[in-house]
């Protein structure tokens, strides 16, 4: 998967599609720099994270320990300037530990609601598959509807609420694999992977210099309200008839593929389109092209086709190769 969204391309396309809106893709530039500084040599992963962010989706990071999942989530939260919360999922984690709970106040003899970690812009749910299904499903409502219901009362979450969940593909003992319904609510599943040798060397160098370099890059913060604007702009990116038709054919292909037991759901299709819109927006376009769909295919499909990561890559490639692009007519 090659994501080729250089700054030059973005600038070049501004001419082809008219001037981008005021909250253009350049608004993400400080955030991109911050994330690149935090996670060396993973610009393609960072682009996908930004796509997920602009598309208002939730992210599942599946990777080995120590590869920077938490770092990525923290940097993202810091760059957005919003609230960041984190919960380490364990079998004894209760739903109320995530959503919040009502506490009896001895002073005024009333129950008052104590907000859980979901009341933030970015929630890092570390090792989500170690939480019990009951706790996992407590996240369902929060992720899907951006609200929680505690003791019969409904509490709205931030519209930009984003869950970054991580899970460890090894050491499966004592874990509760995420159910399909839960997985379908994630927009993407990403793996960060090991950095290249040169990046690791650079990382070690920076470690000896202290946190100065990272701090310098991390100084800038996304202006308040920008994310909401971006997400609204992304929702307005148009998808022409040939693109929609191409997307539908791809979805049909996932349902036809012999290796796939669970084809793409309509909700998954909607999420995929939104991710493609986000990618188009990041490329400075106001319309989706098939390349946007292809570039977001693997992270979107791998989370919901119920396949091993290595197998999923082959299957997604087969699905893409089996579906021809719309003809220029």
């Amino acid at each position: 998967m090659v994501l080729s969204m250089q700054a030059g391309e973005v600038a070049g396309l501004a001419g082809a599609s008219g001037q981008a809106e005021s909250a253009g893709p350049l608004v993400f530039e400080p955030l991109r720099r911050r994330l690149n500084a935090a996670l060396r040599g993973k610009s393609d992963v960072i682009e996908l994270v930004l796509i997920c962010l602009a598309g208002n989706g939730h992210l599942l990071l599946e990777d080995l320990p120590g590869l920077g999942k938490t770092t990525l989530a923290r940097s993202l939260a810091a760059g957005l300037g919003g609230r960041f919360s984190r919960c380490q999922c364990t079998p004894d984690l209760l739903p109320s530990d995530i959503t919040g709970f009502s506490l009896f106040n001895q002073k005024n003899h009333e129950f008052e609601f104590r907000e859980g970690p979901v009341f933030s812009e970015i929630l890092l749910a570390d090792e989500l598959n170690r939480a019990t299904p009951r706790t996992q499903s407590a996240l369902l409502e929060a992720m899907a509807e951006r609200q929680v219901t505690v003791d019969g009362r409904r509490y709205l979450l931030s519209p930009q609420f984003m869950v970054i969940a991580t899970q460890n593909p090894v050491d499966q003992h004592g874990t509760y694999p995420l159910p399909e319904a839960q997985l379908d609510r994630f927009a993407m599943k990403l793996s960060i992977g090991y950095p290249a040798a040169s990046d690791e060397s650079q990382m070690l160098l920076e470690a000896t210099l202290g946190p100065v370099a990272v701090e310098r890059a991390s100084a800038e913060v996304l202006p308040a309200g920008s994310l909401a604007e971006v997400q609204q702009s992304v929702a307005r990116v148009s998808a022409a008839e040939p693109v929609r038709e191409y997307l539908v054919r791809l979805a049909a292909e996932t349902r036809r593929h012999t290796s796939v037991s669970l084809g793409l759901s309509p909700r998954g299709l909607l999420i995929w389109l939104r991710m493609a819109q986000a990618r188009a927006w990041l490329a400075g376009r106001r319309f989706v092209i098939p390349d946007d769909i292809q570039d977001t295919a693997f992270p979107v499909l791998s989370v919901r086709l119920g396949l091993e990561t290595s197998r999923a890559r082959t299957v997604v490639q087969e699905i893409l190769e089996g579906t021809s692009l719309p003809e220029y007519r």
């Binding site: 082809a16 599609s17 376009r285 319309f287 292809q294 579906t323 021809s324 007519r329």
Partner: protein, 809 residues
Amino acid sequence: MAVDNIVIPRLRRLDRMSVYDRSRGFAGTAIRSAAFLLEGSEVVLRMLSLMLAMLATSAFLITDADGGRSEPGLWLQIVVESLLAVCLWRLLRYLPEHIDRGTLTAVAAICVLVLSLLWEPVQRMLLGTGRPFEMLLMHSQKNLMLLLAAAGQRGGMRMSVFIGAVLCIFSSAITRDPRAWLATALFAVTGLSWLVAAYWSGLRPRMLRDSGSRMPLRWALAGPLCGLLLLAAAGGGGPQVISTIRGFLPGSGGDGEYDEFSRGGVNDGDALVAGLDDIRSFGAIEDAPFAESDRPSLYDVINDAFDEPVRRNKTTQRAVALPPELMASLQQRLSSVQEAGREFSTHRRHSSSRKARARSISSATLISVSGRVPLHLRMELYDLFDGRDWQALPEPEESLRFSTCDHAGKPWIRIPASWRGLHFESYSDYHIVTPLGLKSPIIPAPADARALHIDRVDQPDMFAWHQEGIVRMVRDSLEPQAAIHLRSEVADPQKLRRNPGLHFETTRSPECRLLPGGAGMERIGRMAAEWAGGLPRGMAQVDEICRRLREGYVLDRDVLPDETSELPVEDFLFRLKRGPEYLFATSAVVMLRSLGYTARLVSGFYANPQNYDARKRKTLVRAEDSHFWCEVFVGGGTWATLEPSPGYALLEPPPTLGQRIAAFLRWGWRRAVRHWLLVLTGTVLLAVVWVQRRWVQCGVLTLLWRVFPGRGARERVLRAARLVDSRLRLAGLARPPHVSPARWLEHLSLLDVVAVRRVLRLAEAAMYGGGAEFAGVVQESELSVLNAAMLRELSFGGLRRLARERQDG
């Protein structure tokens, strides 16, 4: 105004000198709109000029072909020449601004004139075909006209229309093809519109400050439309109106010079036009009543074609001995037959009237035949022969009744035949015989006709037997122009010859075995025995006799046996060795009878394939096609038709698919051998084109794209993107269907193709961005520059090199 709205944007696309550029010097919207208006009339003028050139080309090419070329070939030429003109017109837009168009047009015009004239000797040498001088000149004028119309210079357009008018007048004057006249008429009415447009575009300098007037397009179109309506009305007025109008058109002429490539003339050259067939003069004789009285009877036709018989001097003693049974039959027959004039004498002399007429002049058409030819149409059978005269068969005593049957919803008269005995593998055949100028009640039909149909004649009692197997109508003569449909069951000649049931014996027709005696007859008999005696009895002997006659004797209607000769056949066989076909047929019959076969003479008409009129899809039968042949009895009531005269052929069964293919291959081979130089050149060219087919395809696609770049920016961008795709595919760098063009370029590491990438990005915007999104993104002028840069960046040679490098790894 609506028309201008359509025309002006088109002009902007068609011409690289955009309206804006031209009118930049003018201030104010009103003046600019007047300029738009006049530019509109300029485009109309241009299109009309081109249309006129095409019409004149059509008229001229139809005239040039004059029915001598295949229809598809003719129309292909018209379409190709018109398309070339249109392509030239479109391509001239790419001419750089600094080149002087007037000078270029003048140079091109001279080249076209010279090349058109130089092509003729090449064509005569390579193809063996050529054009008469006047056609050659007109061809060069036609090419010049197309060039001038395509170039679109003001003076050039006028010149082109003038040449077109001359071409149309020339074509109408010398052709008989109504389509050429139609094209001329269309030229005339379109010319009216052209005049209006020319007038209005001529007003341009004076109109700049006046935006109130505009070209009266409606009236400019209404006038010609009225003309068209008038023509249509004339067409609907029936053939009389048409022929009256046609009469005012001039006829052809000639100067007596002989040229092998000429179209015709007044002298007796190869292409002499028969005055009797289609008189090219005009007079008030459309309904003149002499046509009926002009029709000859069968007797007249035969006398006309084979001279007149020498009347037997009654006092002269017969020198040929007749056997007693022949004598008895003759005397019995003579009383009835001779009175009716139903005898044919082999003793004839040159008639004075026939000699006077030129041989090459065809006489009037007697019958037309639709269906497969050659065809022998029987009119009269002769059985008794006394050495000089043939006596026709009498009307059959045993009268078989005619009956009707239904076939395809039409009443058909079944021709009964009770004497069917042998079983042959036969095939069905179908002919339409139309009597035109023959006065006879006998239905000219092939020997194996089994049913006939004449429209609205469904009563069997309208028909009677003329002779055994020959049907006549019960009236004075056949109705002229009334088509007679005939269905036949024809025995395959080859299978007939192989039939083991042939016995050649009959008890039915003893007259057909009788021969006069005498030394001459014995001599002929000896010759027959010498020719075929060594062969087994049967068709082998019969065919050998016919073959010897066909190969050893010359058919010549002008050579007649000596008038004093008592046995003209002997004179023909032993002394002259040439003569008319009744002597061939008589010789065959006499020889066959001397060998013990039952044979008889047949007279009638021979539908000659050489007289096939491709335009009418009919074979015309004239008086000189009257013919004699013979029949031999093969048993089972079956008479086999024999053709002993050289130059005549029997109808072959319809060819099978294999035979057709073989015939086609033979035809192709003969053509190839005849035009070997052309074939060689063509093969080499084709081989080059095949080897370089990718280049050729790429060139054609690029040319098509240049000529038809598309309407509007969106379509132009998309077509350019498609061209990029096609070029990559032809170069061997085909894009997989699931990869986008832009990404494919990245995959090919074609990163420095800036214009191509820009075009592809624009195409994405055009394709997926929606109309509103794409509007105004790119200007036409920018697109032209981009397209030119794109072709430079994506040169086919470079792409081929890249493909080879990729293949080599």
